[in-house]
């Protein structure tokens, strides 16, 4: 069942300038997508690319300039935790208030109320004014109310970093439960982990447009590529050019058979702060770095090609890239970076089991 649909949605903001004429800013342009029940949609992209605007439109707090939006009701927007909390009122009063905003109704049952308090771990403080809460406590309370609302659509904007590790585990479990109940969840996060492990699908945004609608892994690697392009493009004489990857027989690879890899790297370090190092990292699609090769500290300005030979790259099945960067040898700050085309290490992959470790080992079984 379709829970949310955007049809040719665009949103224009008017930017006011003190001295010049007003300028129009298209925060979103021609957005089209649909979302099914139980889908978890991740929104990925740089700051200001339109992700939050999309959530605001979905929440109905602002209207699109053109196009139409359909969403199921009720919606629990978690654009900010504890929006509407009043500092002078107690946790108890604020739960009722926030709950009514999220469609829980003021005649919320006591069992649900207790459940919310227990989830937020605030049993001791429920009659304390919220202004005496720590920021973590306030955020936990806001989160607890939102995930106990009867929402069929949950909009989450970068609020998952609240609480300690244990609380985050609880958030994840609760959201998985909601998803399994058929709640559609839309998630904005700059934390790859949430996008990769929790989302079933991801939209990549660039300057207000959806540039790709695909799996979380794929969206994240495209996003990385996009980031690298944006990175280091602004400095003269500091860049990493094309990174070509070959196998043991010097053929360009898209699939790796064997364990020998050669990489040819074009770089320009003529304008760089000395000394610097060239660093090559082998990165798997899920973001895990499996190997790293570093040059000595180099202290001559140069530009040209470097060749890296790796003999024993025993990788498990998966997609990989080589990530090449120029780094300051003293501070290890990345000055420029680039990634190669992806290549596949073929083999049997069981989705439910996930990745099979990091390195490939030779192994035998014996039974007595």
């Amino acid at each position: 069942m379709i829970q949310m649909r955007f049809e040719n949605v665009s949103k224009k903001y008017r930017q006011r300038h003190a001295n010049e004429a007003d300028a129009d800013l298209w925060a979103l342009r021609d957005i089209n997508f649909e979302c099914e029940a139980g889908e978890v949609l991740g929104l990925v992209g740089r700051n200001g690319c339109g992700k939050s605007t999309l959530l605001k439109l979905a929440a109905g707090v602002t209207t699109p300039t053109t196009g139409a939006i359909y969403t199921v009701k009720p919606i629990a927007p978690m654009l900010e935790l504890g929006a509407g909390f009043h500092p002078d009122l107690t946790g108890r009063d604020n739960i009722r208030l926030n709950g009514s905003l999220l469609g829980l109704g003021r005649r919320m049952s006591t069992s649900l109320f207790d459940e919310i308090v227990a989830f937020a771990e605030l049993e001791q403080h429920v009659d304390t004014p919220v202004k005496h809460y720590s920021s973590g406590m306030t955020a936990r309370l806001g989160f607890a109310v939102a995930v106990h609302s009867p929402a069929r659509l949950l909009l989450v904007d970068e609020v998952l970093s609240v609480g300690d590790k244990l609380f985050q585990q609880k958030c994840l479990a609760r959201m998985q439960y909601l998803r399994d109940q058929g709640t559609t969840i839309v998630l904005v996060s700059h934390d790859d982990w949430w996008i990769r492990n929790f989302c079933t699908r991801a939209l990549l945004f660039e300057a207000g447009c959806i540039v790709s609608d695909t799996t979380p892994d794929e969206a994240l690697s495209q996003y990385d590529l996009h980031l690298y392009k944006a990175f280091g493009a602004n400095q003269q004489g500091v860049s990493v050019g094309k990174v070509e990857v070959f196998d043991g027989e010097d053929r360009p690879i898209s699939e790796l058979h064997g364990t020998s890899v050669r990489a040819r790297i074009a770089f320009d370090a003529s304008g760089i702060a000395l000394p610097y190092q060239i660093v090559v990292r082998v990165r798997r699609q899920d973001g895990v770095y499996t190997a790293m090769c570093i040059t000595e500290a180099l202290d001559t300005h140069s530009a040209g090609k470097a060749v890296l030979e790796i003999d024993n790259l025993s990788l498990v099945v998966g997609r990989y890239v080589l990530e090449v960067s120029l780094e300051d040898a003293k501070t290890h700050i990345v000055l420029a970076t680039q990634v190669s085309e992806t290549f596949l290490v073929p083999g049997y992959f069981d989705v439910r089991r996930g990745y099979h470790g990091i390195i490939q080992v030779q192994s035998r079984w014996h039974f007595d």
Binding site: T62, L79, H86, L89, D93, S100, G105, R106, P129
Partner: protein
Amino acid sequence: MWKQLTALLQARDILYTWTLREVKVRYTDTSLGLAWIVLYPAAWVILFTLLFSHLVPVPVQGLPYPLFVMTGLVPWFFFSNTTSNCVSSLKHNANLIPKVYFPREVLPLGSVLVGLLDLMFYLLLLLVAMLYFHVGDGVKLLMLLPIIMSLTALTLAVGLLTARFALFRREVQLLVPMALQFLMYMVPVFYPVEIVPVHLRMVYLLNPLASLMDSFRHILIYNRWPDWRAFGYASVVSFALLVFAYWDFKRAEPQFADRL
């Protein structure tokens, strides 16, 4: 507009908790607490009595002046306090409006409901004073109900309009308190309508608030029915203004979040 009213009806839980919140917030953390609600009008009654009963006497047809001025202050407090609360009702919730959708009229409406609660309490004080001074007629007091309804409609209309315009034009927030101060002299608070020259009285009563406040006083202490034509006119204007204000408010509502 029908659809919007249904949506508002569905949001009555929000309205209820919001109004409760406003009331609670007001009386938590003030050392005098509930005493404020008595001290505030008492201070005004004393001031006006000193000024217009002793220094510059105002003719009040032999009624005790404190009682007279109370019948003017009660509706005036309702109107002016509610209006100034409404003006900032959207602005003060700038952190909430862009984050959650709910019918925005809940915010000014909440201010009006809080004002109504105060009005009820003040009316109670007034009735006690009337018993003390042996003034008033039981049957005519029923007429208070339609007067208060019209007064509420007018106040809500002004509240919706000012709240919405305060978002679009900064000056509104500065202008409203000033306008209210002027207005206090243009409605019968501390003087009776009768001191307005006859040939100007028509113009004076064109202001629906002046009409309603005069009717209010007539019922309570002059023991006379109000001037029906003036009251009817003021009620029609008030409700028509409310319909317009609500329509205008809902029309502007989609832009609220972007304007904050």
